[in-house]
């Protein structure tokens, strides 16, 4: 007999649960939809048996979305940048997350969140998934500008603006996720988010060019992102 069937009239009903258990997430699209509409269902999934599957879906979706937006970034220069930019954007994003994850786990614990590593990985996967989903939403606009603009500096500024907007939404979701994990103080998580932004910005400089062209896949000269930006602006491109 299915235990979830309604009990026949006259039998004792079990006491109601204090918090309704969200419905399990079925397919990949329902996971992505839940991330945007009902993120609590996704956070809840990280605590259950389906955590691995949900995280795998989020990571796959991030890879696809980052690659798609990478193609749009590469469409400015076309040629080899059409494959180089997506590869760099996708791998750079994942590498940034990997090197930032240990400190996130520690900062979350310092903030009082009783969390397992899988939940932290899940929240971060949710952050970058929402981030890249929004970027894909911006992709048509970015593509139009790619086709009609010849200034690398302007295109760089526009991609950064889109990324910051998607970050703003993603960070709100991320902080809500840590509140869901009973973190008492979110100050450490906010500091981590600032560090994450800096790391991603530096990664975009370390993996340049993303927008322009170069004979080399990776730059030979090491440069910090602010210095690189000023350099680009000075060149007036």
């Amino acid at each position: 007999m299915n235990t979830s069937d309604p009990a026949p009239p006259g039998t004792t009903q079990p006491p109601p649960l204090t918090q309704p258990v969200p419905e399990p997430l079925a397919g990949p699209f329902s996971i992505l939809e839940a991330l945007l509409r009902e993120p609590n269902r996704v956070w809840h999934a990280f605590r259950g048996d389906e955590a691995g599957r949900v995280i795998a879906v989020l990571i796959f979706a991030t890879a696809v979305c980052a690659a798609l937006y990478g193609v749009v970034i590469g469409s400015f220069s076309k040629g080899p940048q059409l494959w180089a930019a997506p590869v760099k954007v996708t791998l750079g994003l994942f590498f940034s997350v990997i090197i930032c994850l240990p400190s996130l786990y520690i900062f979350a614990s310092l903030g009082g969140a009783r969390t397992r590593l899988v939940e932290v990985i899940g929240l971060t996967a949710g952050l970058i998934t929402q981030n890249t989903l929004l970027l894909v939403g911006f992709a048509p606009v970015a593509w139009i500008f790619s086709e009609s603009t010849d200034s690398i500096a302007w295109m760089g500024a526009m991609h950064l603006a889109f990324w910051f907007v998607s970050c703003a939404f993603g960070f709100r979701l991320f902080l809500a996720g840590f509140e869901h994990l009973n973190a008492r103080h979110l100050g450490g998580i906010r500091v981590w988010l600032a560090m994450f932004i800096v790391v991603v910005l530096q990664m975009s400089t370390a993996l340049r060019p993303l927008i322009g062209t170069s004979e080399d896949f990776l730059p030979k000269e090491k440069r910090f992102f602010l210095k690189h930006w000023f350099h680009q602006m000075d060149e007036g491109k």
Binding site: I98, I99, P102, S103, L110, G111, G112, V199, K222
Partner: protein, 240 residues
Amino acid sequence: MTSQTAKDDGNPAPLGALLAGEPEAVARDLGRPALGTLGRHSTVIVIGAGLFGASIGLWRDPVQALYTAVKLPLILLLCATGNALLNGIIGAMLGLKLTFRQSFLAILMSFSIASTILGSVSPLLFFYVWNMTPFDPAHRTAEGYSGLMVLAVAAIAFAGIASNIRLVGWLDRANASRVLSLRVLFCWLAGNLVLGSQLSWILRPFFGSPNLDVQFVRADAFQGNFFQALWIAVRTVVDR
């Protein structure tokens, strides 16, 4: 803390619970056999501070990375051990309700928390070093060297503050008096500052100066002391 009943199933408290400052976790670790807790937290210090040391020494040379990875945990372990008796005595004199063993382990655990934080940010420092202009042996210059020092000092300061906030929380729990906890913490910090700074002086260099060769300790390691050098530095600034 000694009177506290902790749920002790024989296993050490999860590191996450210690980081979160959960009193039951601290009580559980302090209540375990000393050797087990000592071994566990020493291992965390060796790994965490070792990784951090490697990341700050790497900009200069891989050998410097190895040296600093050995020296940084060594300073923390020597500092905790060297001041164990002094800290225990001071704690007892000020009325701290912890045994000598528990005082020593509490300090070691706070060092372990600091090392965990330092270890967790070491991938970021590795990334910073990867983005630095490589050290030029011919001209003995490296762009970004000062930035690396600032970042490392900021990380150490953050780890030190966070670990001491946890430590004072444990002391509060043991004493039920914030004033006493702060007094004990102040004395412990003062003792650890004196020993720790001199150990750092002897075991320098950590970053590896661009103008000097890579070495485990300097030839003049046992000449002078940290505070003497600090005094000379202050005089130099004031006399300008």
